[in-house]
């Protein structure tokens, strides 16, 4: 078997925040009736985190659940476990109306860390990044310059971004540019 590599193979950049491509991450798209016990149990069962509410995300290390739309969840797992988790979901939801697909290799994930992360995201997304409006735990699908992206804050000084793998290089370029030393605006300082 060939070695799987992520889009940018863990590239990093140090600006006024650090930008890191997080390497391979397991991601499963799970669609179905999110209010049904079956889907909830399967999602919670494979990740071990609580069911997120509307536009929320719950993560523990590399595992987590994110609310993507009224009928879609993103199940995050370590890359090596994604096959097992998918099989587990299929087993738990057998006979039910659902869809679960391994999308790990179709996505890229970035993490930016530092005091100015809110500002970096505010430069790129039409989202209110004010500390009282965008809090850790909020999951927001939006537009990052010209590409769709999903963002959330694992903590107050970090943002994680998911985008399509095909545009990972563009996303990395955007983040580098927005994090360039000397380009601080100081909006949320």
């Amino acid at each position: 078997m060939s070695d799987a590599v992520s889009a940018l193979n863990g590239a990093t950049y140090n600006g006024f925040v650090t930008v890191t491509e997080l390497g391979l991450r397991g991601m499963i798209t799970l669609r179905g009736d999110l209010s049904s016990a079956g889907v909830k149990n399967a999602a919670i069962g494979v990740t071990g985190v609580d069911m997120p509410g509307q536009r929320q995300v719950h993560t523990v290390k590399e595992s987590g659940l994110a609310w993507m739309s009224p009928d879609e969840l993103l199940v995050m797992t370590p890359y090596a476990e994604v096959g097992d988790k998918l099989a587990q979901i299929d087993k738990l939801l057998k006979g039910k109306h659902y869809l679960a697909v391994n999308v790990s290799d179709a996505r890229a994930m970035f993490r930016i860390e530092g005091a100015g992360v809110r500002e970096v995201m505010a430069k790129l997304c039409p989202v209110d990044m004010a500390p009282d409006a965008f809090t850790p735990g909020v999951f927001r699908r939006t537009r990052m310059a010209q590409i769709p992206a999903a963002i959330w804050m694992p903590s107050d000084d970090a943002v994680q971004i998911i985008c399509f793998r095909s545009v990972a290089d563009y996303a990395f370029g955007l983040l580098k540019d927005a994090a360039e030393p000397g380009s601080e605006v100081g909006l949320f300082a």
Binding site: R55, S69, P70, P126, V127, R140, R141, T142
Partner: protein
């Protein structure tokens, strides 16, 4: 710039996060309809200056379609409502009436 609230995911975003999908509440005339019906279904659009109902899609967000009632001249948004509706909700029509008494759009007023 329009500020729309997606009724599916509750996000209030500006218009670049959404995509316009043309006029709302169009009744489809397909196979079996006569030429006049098909012509009006395909080509006859309201395209008003003022109160308008449109379909929008939250394409950089949850990906769902919804309806929006807005004023094409002032860009005021009267409200958004789910795609699974055949007519604008009364609450939104009342809001438009308060601003534009006697408004009319297709069969709605």
């Amino acid at each position: 710039m329009l500020i729309l609230t997606c009724p599916s995911c509750g996000v209030t975003g500006e218009e670049t996060e959404f995509h316009a999908g043309g006029e709302a509440h169009i009744k489809r005339f397909g196979p079996g309809s006569d030429d006049d019906q098909f012509h009006s279904y395909l080509f006859a659009k309201e395209n008003p200056k003022g109160v308008h109902f449109e379909r929008w899609r939250h394409n950089n967000g949850c990906g769902k379609w919804f309806h929006a009632a807005r004023d094409t001249m002032t860009l005021e948004v009267f409200g958004t409502y789910p795609a699974q509706t055949l007519e604008p909700p009364k609450q939104i029509r009342d809001k438009i009436t308060a601003k534009h008494p006697g408004w009319k759009w297709r069969e709605f007023s």
